[in-house]
Subunit: 380 residues, 2 copies
Amino acid sequence: MHSPPLTLGILGGGQLARMTAQAAQRLGVRVAILDAAPGSPAAQVTPLEFVGRWQDAGAVRRFAAACDVVTLENEFIDAEVLAALEAEGKPVHPGAAAVARIQDKLVQKQVLARAQLAVAPFAPVAAAADALACGREFGYPFLLKARRDAYDGNGNRTVRAPEEVGPAMEALGYPARALYAERHVPFRAELATLVARGRDGDTRSYPLVESRQERHICKWVLAPARVDGRIRALAGELARAAAETVGAVGIVGVELFLGPEDAVLINELAPRPHNTGHYSIEACATSQFENHVRAVLGWPLGDPDLIVPAAAMVNLLGRREGPARLDDLPAALGRGRAKLHLYGKAESRVGRKLGHVTVVGDDADACLREALAVDAALTL
Amino acid sequence: MHSPPLTLGILGGGQLARMTAQAAQRLGVRVAILDAAPGSPAAQVTPLEFVGRWQDAGAVRRFAAACDVVTLENEFIDAEVLAALEAEGKPVHPGAAAVARIQDKLVQKQVLARAQLAVAPFAPVAAAADALACGREFGYPFLLKARRDAYDGNGNRTVRAPEEVGPAMEALGYPARALYAERHVPFRAELATLVARGRDGDTRSYPLVESRQERHICKWVLAPARVDGRIRALAGELARAAAETVGAVGIVGVELFLGPEDAVLINELAPRPHNTGHYSIEACATSQFENHVRAVLGWPLGDPDLIVPAAAMVNLLGRREGPARLDDLPAALGRGRAKLHLYGKAESRVGRKLGHVTVVGDDADACLREALAVDAALTL
């Protein structure tokens, strides 16, 4: 590390970049943001704003020139853009190779399966005939998924019968968009965890949490998960092995299914801080954002353990279209111990993540009730 | 409150403004900074930087025009500058009247004494004869203090004998600088607390903490203070009454002496977040910075209670002159659960506050040991 202040560049300017930026700044690190839109959530918290698309090589190069290390807030940025930066000698973490193993979800599943890590059965779908073959093999319902650029369920379709294959493929953007199929897992719970992995390969595992999705969007997270020690250990080991297998540096978000007979399967990886880890800002000795920063800068990782018995995080999702309304905010703030996080998004949309609220305490259920009450009091 | 995002303006761009800015941003509030120097600690965390002195009415007006509400990070800004903004209809909190009751420390003591709140005996010093009279009345040693613009002990002198009066007055800048005298309190401990006071007069009291000064600069803070319930109640009541007496909106930092026979005296007030309250970022349900923001915006105050059994905060003070060195940072970060805060100051100076470190846990002494170990590992 050199003595003048470091500048960390983040590709993308959404809420994950915003919270990563604030963690970096607390460590005395300056932050530069590249986003296609001016005034992005992250650009509101730093003077070093670059406006441009990651597809614009010139914009990326100008941005990177201002940064000592480059990281990213989503896995949609093509790994080749990262590889080009690496070729010019710029440290990029997670690196192009790790992102390439994750950003195409079919490749991700293949990489995990090759390492004998538990995932639901899956298969490539190059044509309708492939999907119909999956229906026969996996049974109905099964899932059709976009291989890339999917988030909050917008790249998933449940196929309940052979005649739904065509419409589902079309709805997902086939043939322009490449697809794959997955067996449906009748899960008892959705679990998640985070692994921080340093440049030196050192890892730290966050607590296992429960998450609840509504309409394919994460609605709430409870920490720690209400499962027994065996499941906890299994999930922790699976997540650590997955992070090592993809070779990512930084936070790896790991979504898991708790399936029949207490089987634990990896649902999906993300090479970055993850929505299911927001609770760590208040509830852990080192937040996921701080450990992401430490990892990508090559610094030692911090303790990820809970500093409180329990925590609940509820996403504040838009319920309307139009300018975000903050009128209810003061009233919602009057409700006890909840910690509110708003992302500075000017426009609301139904289901858009506009903020989140975290409550820490002795009892996870009580925390969740309190956080949900704040959510109910707001109509952003 | 109106629906477009609010902008909070902060007069001053040091670490208190920086941490206040980050708390405001978490609530979705934008932050503008006015500081005489470009690239101040707070200007590193927002794109809305205004460079200018608070003595420059035009600069203040341009800054205020960009803000919905104006607050401040120190009490050196002349109350008349705040009064001018108020006269133009700009909400300023704390307001000119409250700041005027605090920024002149002689006036502050007079206001507190008139309200029958416990302070050490004091007297104005307009000439050397007044100081000598104080020596006779208070006994030696006694304290000579600058009435304004003093911080970290730079406006205090201990006078041990009559012949020290002249040199002490000169060292403090007399006659250009107005002075007053205070009886020396042989305190057993220095205590501190914070009161958050809303625009509606609602107050919330933070835990009582112990602080340790070295060479008149706060070195560490322990929360909660290791004193009995009677002292705790006395201090809490004194602090709340003081905040109400000065009529400040926002955080009021209250430094206290625990004197002989368990007497509790007010040492000094500050109409803003205070160094002794930095521990609240990690250790309290609502940090002092968030409650300052809530208060000045007219929002309900948050719960100030500890969410952990104990916390220790150690200031990271410069030990050398020259560019701040961050070389030791990675090694220091390897030390357990400490939460490091660096303020982005490019230049180190002996005694300059460059950052702080907070450790939370079950045992206050263990927290303090851990935080001091991080401090010892750094030579910023």
